[in-house]
Amino acid sequence: MLNIALPKGRLGEQVYGLFARAGFECPAVLENSRKLIFENAETGVRYFWVKPSDVAIYVARGAADIGVAGKDILLEYRPDVYELLDLKLGKCRMAVAGPAGFTDRKEQTLRVATKFSRIAREYYAGQGRDIDIIHLNGSIEIAPILGLTDVIVDIVETGKTLKENHLEVLETIVPISARLIANKSGFKFKTDAIQRLTNGLRKEVDGN
């Protein structure tokens, strides 16, 4: 039985569609119920819905053999897993944003608000820029407006929220999309099923 952790929400449903077309169907997944775990003995899969940011933990700790996680989570938490495929879904980018027309005055420490401390720290370390990270858990956009920080590092999809808050993208750090990940030990013992799934998904992704 292949254990698969899917991210709850719209992206997860899209991802399930890909898995089903690749031959790993489990129709109960899409039923409107409060159940969180779904099994299909015929196709040999057990799906479960988890919080998107937790998928990598389930996979790294072996509760799931396979999962789908955003590249942002993989870069931030560095779970020790295989990253087998770019599913090219949920595309967005990790970016530095700030008030329109902002210029970085290099003589001051740059104050950065973010949920992604590691990504921000590594990005600025690569430029040799001294920064002060303020870790926030949500409503990051508000930080520069209230003068809490100079800029933010966050995920930008359409840029609409930024625009509404008079912010703009200053630099793109890295493109983000959903990735198929696998537990390193699970891969050794369920190789055939995981390779079959990966190849099936690759065909689906390349065909789109």
Partner: protein, 317 residues
């Protein structure tokens, strides 16, 4: 005095059985102090699995550390064996913090080191003991073997003189991340298609027979050929030692180690139901050179803490 199994927990039982295995195969017990001068670790920070070390000031004012690693102490304390082979095993506790949030934990390791002029037979011998160690823990185990020389040759061709590109590529290799390799190459302006050899290399996975056959159609160079034949000798040596071990061996080039310390054969062991590797090892001539030693060396460690939840009745120990 015979000690009954019921008095020991899984870790202890397996630990003693492993020591018995190494002892009966000509290895000698090596004991060491719990402490080392901190300087040893600060000079070899990258070699450690975790950079965090517990330090304290000794009564004579020296800055000491609770051992986070065993191999460094052995390398530091042993003299070169010259033409001989030195075979040592240990059962030790080390102190590490996986990351800032998890805090320090005591971990128990059993392992062995083989130092001197490392021959093909010596490599096979160590690999056989690694595979047997896993079998002693569980019938459902796999030893994955890689050759860092092959990986380095293919990666160097792609990254040229850029160490950052090489580091990123090797990280992708350890993740089996072929799309990541394409992204890195495009960003670095490397001609499209040049990355295919590295991608094919990490796509190879499976029994030694299957992978070695596929490896022979790789771009030919005398250097690569020699290393492929080294890998072939190493795995065929395991089979001649114990035929039934062969079905528990796979070749997988994603088993990487830090190339500044390790070279040649590298390997990791997995047991079904345990999410992380339970055994890790390889040839580390690079570390020996950095520590001013002339000998070559190969060894591995079994992480007993990770075996804590081995299913009851599964262990052969």
């Amino acid at each position: 005095m015979w000690i009954e199994d019921r008095l020991m927990d899984t870790q202890e039982r397996i630990g003693y059985r492993l020591m018995d295995l190494y002892d009966t195969n000509g290895y000698n017990r090596y004991r060491m102090s719990k402490f080392e001068e901190y300087d040893l670790y600060s000079r070899n920070r990258d070699f450690l699995l975790s950079e965090n070390v517990i330090t304290f000031t000794d009564t004579n004012g020296r800055l000491m550390a609770m051992k986070p690693d065993v191999t460094l102490s052995i390398v530091k304390n042993m003299k070169d064996a010259g033409r001989d082979i030195r075979k040592l095993y240990y059962y030790e506790h080390v102190y590490r913090a996986a990351d800032e949030t998890e805090g320090f934990r005591e971990q128990t390791q059993v392992g062995l080191e083989c130092m001197g002029q490392i021959s093909a037979a010596c490599i096979s011998g160590v690999l056989t003991l690694a595979a047997r160690s896993l079998q002693l823990c569980s019938e459902h185990s796999v030893l994955e073997i890689s050759h860092l020389g092959i990986l380095k040759t293919v990666t160097d061709e792609l990254s040229g003189e850029h160490p950052e590109i090489k580091t990123s590529l090797l990280h992708c290799v350890s993740e089996k991340n072929t799309h990541g390799i394409t992204d890195i190459c495009r960003e670095a302006g490397i001609e499209a298609g040049k990355e295919e050899t590295l991608q094919r290399l990490i796509g190879l996975y499976g029994s030694p027979e299957k992978v070695l056959e596929e490896l022979h159609v790789f771009p030919e160079s005398a250097k690569l050929k020699e290393m492929i034949s080294e890998l072939e000798h190493a795995v065929s040596g395991i089979r001649s030692a114990q035929e039934q071990l062969n079905r528990h061996i796979i070749i997988d080039f994603s088993a990487t180690e830090d190339l500044r310390y390790y070279n040649g054969i590298a390997f990791k062991g997995f047991i079904e139901g345990i999410p992380e590797s339970v055994l890790s090892g390889g040839q580390y001539d690079g570390l020996m050179r950095r520590m001013g030693r002339k000998d070559q060396a190969i060894g591995f460690a079994v992480f007993l803490n990770r075996l804590e939840r081995l299913r009851e009745g599964e262990s052969h120990a």
